[in-house]
Amino acid sequence: MQDIKSTWHDTLEIIKVSVSPAIFSTWFSQTHLIKIDEINQRFLIEIGCPTSYIKNFIETRYFGLIQDSALKVLGKPCDLTFVVKENPVREKSESKSPSPLFETEENSEIITRALEKAKIRSNFTFENFAVSGSNQMAHAAALAVSENLGNAYNPLFIWGGVGVGKTHLMGAVGNVAIKKNPDLKVLFCTSETFTNDIIEGIRNKTTQSFRDKYRKLDLLLIDDIQFIAGKDTAQEEFFHTFNAVTSSGGQIILTSDRPPSEIAKLEERLRSRFEAGLIVDVAPPDFELRCAIAQIKAKERGLALDMNQIQMIAANVDSARKIEGTLIKIMTQLMGKKVEITDELIENIIGRGVETNGKNIKKDPASVIDAVCHYYQIGKRSLLGDSRSRPIARPRQILMYILRTDLGIPLEEVGRIVGGRDHTTVMHAVEKITQLATTNVQIREDMSKIKLGI
């Protein structure tokens, strides 16, 4: 195939000799070659002209000249066709001149300011909240509330374990409300801030300003309301705030780690008010949801992971926060060591164990061993023994995996606990289970059940 650019350049050089410079610069300088096709020992050349005036003129006046010149360059007879088309090279030279009218901001500044004032994080939105069976109900309820503040479900009480997305949902409602109307009075706070504000008010004799702050809100979002239990003044103040806000048509959303009926030392009148609204729970994310979360978070951080890698993370990490932690580790590895993302890298990071936040450290290896034995119905002796048959070896690998990743015990120590094995054996086991968990549902299920038994 002929090089289009150089062919046309050479042809133009020949034409340049035959015509006057004025004619050349007017008629030919803006033309370009679109394509060359070879048909039966002849070339078919398509020539683009910037305007139809130029096209008509050179087509009638200079057809022969172009044909002859092209023959000399290509060495074969040519047929010419002309079309009107702007030179693409020229189009590209568009530089960016300022055009503030088209820079879409959608009064983002006002919204950002309103979000800041309401203390809501702007990345808590419904768009980046992944939904599956475990949180579908809560999501639908929050969505309904955001569409019809104060009327749908008031209050909305969302409860569930750590890191399941309660705060995210609540923030999303606030985000939607502010985007709809930046003038809406919205406040997001934890029950601790609420309590502290009361104490501050009492100490500085400014309870009135406290009341102005809370009681005139259109949307009040309180995180971790369970901490209000047992604080009498705070409960009383909250009770009045609650009444003031709801009676003026405002919306209240609360989150907690347990349902109102299980919050000890909560005043009866508050409990009954909480129960008057809608109580929804959010269960820990299942595997598919974790995949979705990992995908969303990876995208937010600009991390390009393929499906297999996403699944590997989702299968081996059990909460949304830990997924985030894992991704951060991957990022630091990438930046620090300047390496590519590979399956091995991710395996390595998962295998080293996600930082435990003090919760798992209390468990001792013996109870894990017991749980594994109990789950698989095998004896402790054979589990820690020499048998390498699969029914024994697989549970042993799972045991090593749990000891390593969940309890964060060093490799050599794990090896010692599991019947004096070498640390490389432990490494292999962790790697093997990480792999299996990605693809094998059974292994994932076994693992979560064992963890429940610990």
Binding site: A22, T51, Y53, R61, E94, P98, E105, N107, I110, D183
Partner: protein, 370 residues
Amino acid sequence: MKLQILQENLSNALNIASRFSSNKVQLPVLGNVLFSAKKSKLVISSTNLEISVSINVGAKVQEEGDLSIPSRVITELVGNLPHDTVDLETTKEQLKVATSSFASNVLGMNSNDFPKIPGSVVASKALTIKQKDFAAALMQVIFATSLDETRPILTGVLVLLDKSDLFLVATDGFRLSQKKIKLSSSSEKIKIVLPKAILSEIARVGGEDDLLFSIEEKEKQAVFGVGEIILSSRLLEGEFPDYEKIIPKSSSYKILADKEEVLRAVKLASIFARDNANIVKIKILKDSLKISAESGQSGNQETKVDAKVEKTGDFDLEIAFNYKYLEDFLHSVVGEEVQMEFSGPTTAGVFRDSIDMSYLHLIMPVRVQG
């Protein structure tokens, strides 16, 4: 070529045609107008390879033929002749121009070097628009086009045809003008961008005639016909910005004010604004506007303009604009009152003519610190 023609007709035609000839000296033939005598008409054509015109002028033709003649020379020559019949005759590449008391030989060029330009509109494919409406609409749109050649697409006007609505849109990235014209007939969807030059020429061609308008997609060319004048232009290639999404759907302030009063206030403000990046501030009060400007060197001023203010938001608004954009808009308004809609100091203001809702103008505010 040999013919008799009225000086007045010839001079008018040449005045129009000369504006289309190129004043660049790169190719002399483009600085020429083409005279061609056919049957009972003299056709005068001119082009600069971006736009072209061809005008039929009635004449008493004795001998057909054509010749191209330098535009400037012939236009000035004919323009200064008395109102009388003019004899035109060619001998080889010279044109003899004569009246009863005057004779001249003008050196011309072979007409073969003159580019071919459209000499008629195919009426069956063409769309009919009232020339008066179209010209008036163009005057409200063309001024908003960009002068910046780095984004060629913005130097043109978007012509959008949807059923029986014709939209003309122009923007330079800081302001946007949109005008809608209702057509008597409906047509298929057309979306093209035309260079500003051809549209200003169309707007200048007066008359009560209808405008015929057709597009040759393959040739990337638009052809217009108004009476005896045929104009054509190339289409601009490129993607026109998605303007519809930037037109604000709602606003928190709606203001109705007298056009002349606002214009006077803006002009007064412009005296000081010139030293200060052309910034004029509009503060919205309960039933008036306060238009002010200040300059570190020459002083400051403020004018109060009575206005009807409807507001839905509960924040006070002060919004700053480049006075040139305000002035341009106010000059384009036909009615006596202008309607302005604002939503905030950083969102585009919507400006309208209170009696003409088919005209919409957007101006982006200037961001002022503090």
